[in-house]
């Protein structure tokens, strides 16, 4: 599944970039995040609980930040699994100054497998979009 879009944060690019690498900010911004532990340089262990209407599931996995090019781009590599399925993804985030804020555009590819993929195909695209939107909204909130 391709994932792409953009979101404008009310922050200068340097600050936006810094916030997106800050485990404390990310813990608050990632929907359902229950813990983000630093394992090494740019490498984190993530625990999250997703609650979506009647669907709920715990996920655990790793987040890696590579190809760091502050303040204009970085690559995010995510791998996680839980009882209801697994997800592996890889995306490039680009930051550019726009109207006193920062436009973050992202483009990536994600593979979803397990029960959720077998029976909930039509739920995946919408859910992914909603979680990305929530993440940026929380990030903008943390900035304010």
């Amino acid at each position: 599944m391709k994932v792409s879009g953009s979101y404008t944060l009310p922050l200068p690019p340097e600050r936006a970039y810094q916030m997106m690498q800050d485990p404390e900010v990310l813990t608050r911004a990632i929907p359902g995040c229950q813990g983000l532990e630093k394992m090494g340089e740019g490498e984190y262990h993530l625990k999250m609980k997703m609650v979506l209407a009647s669907l709920s599931g715990a996920f655990e996995g790793s987040v890696r930040i590579t190809d760091q090019n502050p303040p204009s781009s970085f690559r995010l590599v995510v791998a996680g699994s839980g009882r209801i399925g697994f997800v592996e993804g890889d995306g490039l985030l680009k930051l550019s100054a726009a109207d006193g804020g920062t436009e973050v555009s992202y483009e990536g590819d994600a593979q979803v497998g397990g029960t959720i993929a077998a029976v909930g195909q039509r739920l995946i695209d919408g859910t992914a979009k909603m979680m990305i939107k929530k993440f940026f909204e929380k990030l903008a909130e943390a900035a304010g």
Binding site: A53, S54, L55, Q121, R122, I124, G126, T127, M130
Partner: protein, 284 residues
């Protein structure tokens, strides 16, 4: 598959149900969404409160110039309700378009809107009707508009401690025509795209037009630009097409194995044109 072990309570009164919800239980209505999720173990609630035994919540009647629908009314109840068919045919037509007979016999309007599936049929009709929902908590009661109720995919403004008690829809006046047109996913019956149109003609001109789209994106929405172009017009075929062409503009369309985002946008335009054409014909 078999669901995980869970507690089950079937209260007879709303107060009892609200009390159980406050203690962390999960409400069960018709079970047409929650039970399959539990059987697949995508959901594992520890305690279910069955709202199906709350017979006081199953009704369709007129009060204070509007139609009031109890939340546990099934889709079959709605499609076969004489007063709904006469006074608010859009909702009866939408109920008849849901899933299959088995789903319509079990599924309820309250359960469906609480679940807020982005491909559900009611959200389009309820927004075109500018419906309101009555939400009750153990110490609170509030009324929210359908537009404010549906927040995102599977996300509503309903709090975990609240129960949807009633849906309020307007009674249509003379000169109003409505229609719901959908492209169902053949296996599930869910709307790949569904469009509800509601038009009122006065002295040959369109005095009111409401167009709402479901299935296209995460949240059903009113197509404001399309509505504006039609207002005050006579509703010719060309005007209808022009308006329909605007319904999917600027919408972040979803994509899945059943339909790409581009195809969904196209379907929205086609079904908007159909819904408007039928609704306009019914204004006579």
């Amino acid at each position: 598959m078999i669901a995980q072990k869970f507690e089950y309570t079937a209260p007879r009164t709303l107060d009892e149900a609200l009390h159980l919800l406050a203690a962390g239980a999960k409400p069960l209505a018709g079970g047409m969404s929650l039970i399959p999720m539990m059987k697949l173990r995508l959901a594992a609630p520890e305690h279910l409160v069955d709202l199906g035994k709350l017979k006081d919540l199953n009704y369709v009647h007129e009060a204070d110039g509007a139609l009031r629908i109890g939340a546990t009314a099934t889709h079959t109840d709605l499609e076969s309700s004489p007063i709904l068919r006469a006074k608010c045919p859009l909702l009866a037509e939408t109920a008849a378009a849901i899933g299959d007979v088995q789903v319509r016999n079990m599924g309820t309007i309250g359960g469906s809107v609480a679940h807020a599936d982005p491909a559900a049929d009611y959200p389009a009709a309820l927004q075109a009707l500018e419906a309101k929902l009555v939400l009750k908590g153990s110490k609170s009661e509030r009324i929210v508009t359908a537009a404010d109720f549906f927040v995102d995919a599977f996300t509503t403004s309903l709090q975990p401690s609240e129960i949807i008690c009633e849906v309020i829809v307007p009674m249509e006046t003379a000169g109003t025509g409505t229609s719901y047109q959908k492209m169902p996913q053949p296996a599930s019956g869910f709307a790949i795209v569904g469009v509800a149109a509601r038009v009122r003609r006065s002295a040959g001109k369109i005095a009111l037009v409401r167009i709402a789209v479901t299935g296209l994106s995460n949240r059903a929405y009113r197509a404001a630009a399309a509505e504006q172009t039609l207002e005050g017009k006579v509703g010719s075929a060309a005007e209808t097409q022009n308006a329909a062409a605007l319904v999917s503009q600027g919408v972040d369309a979803n994509s899945d194995l059943h339909a790409s985002a581009e195809f969904r946008r196209h379907l929205a335009v086609v079904h908007a044109a159909r819904a408007l054409t039928v609704a306009l014909a019914r204004t006579a």
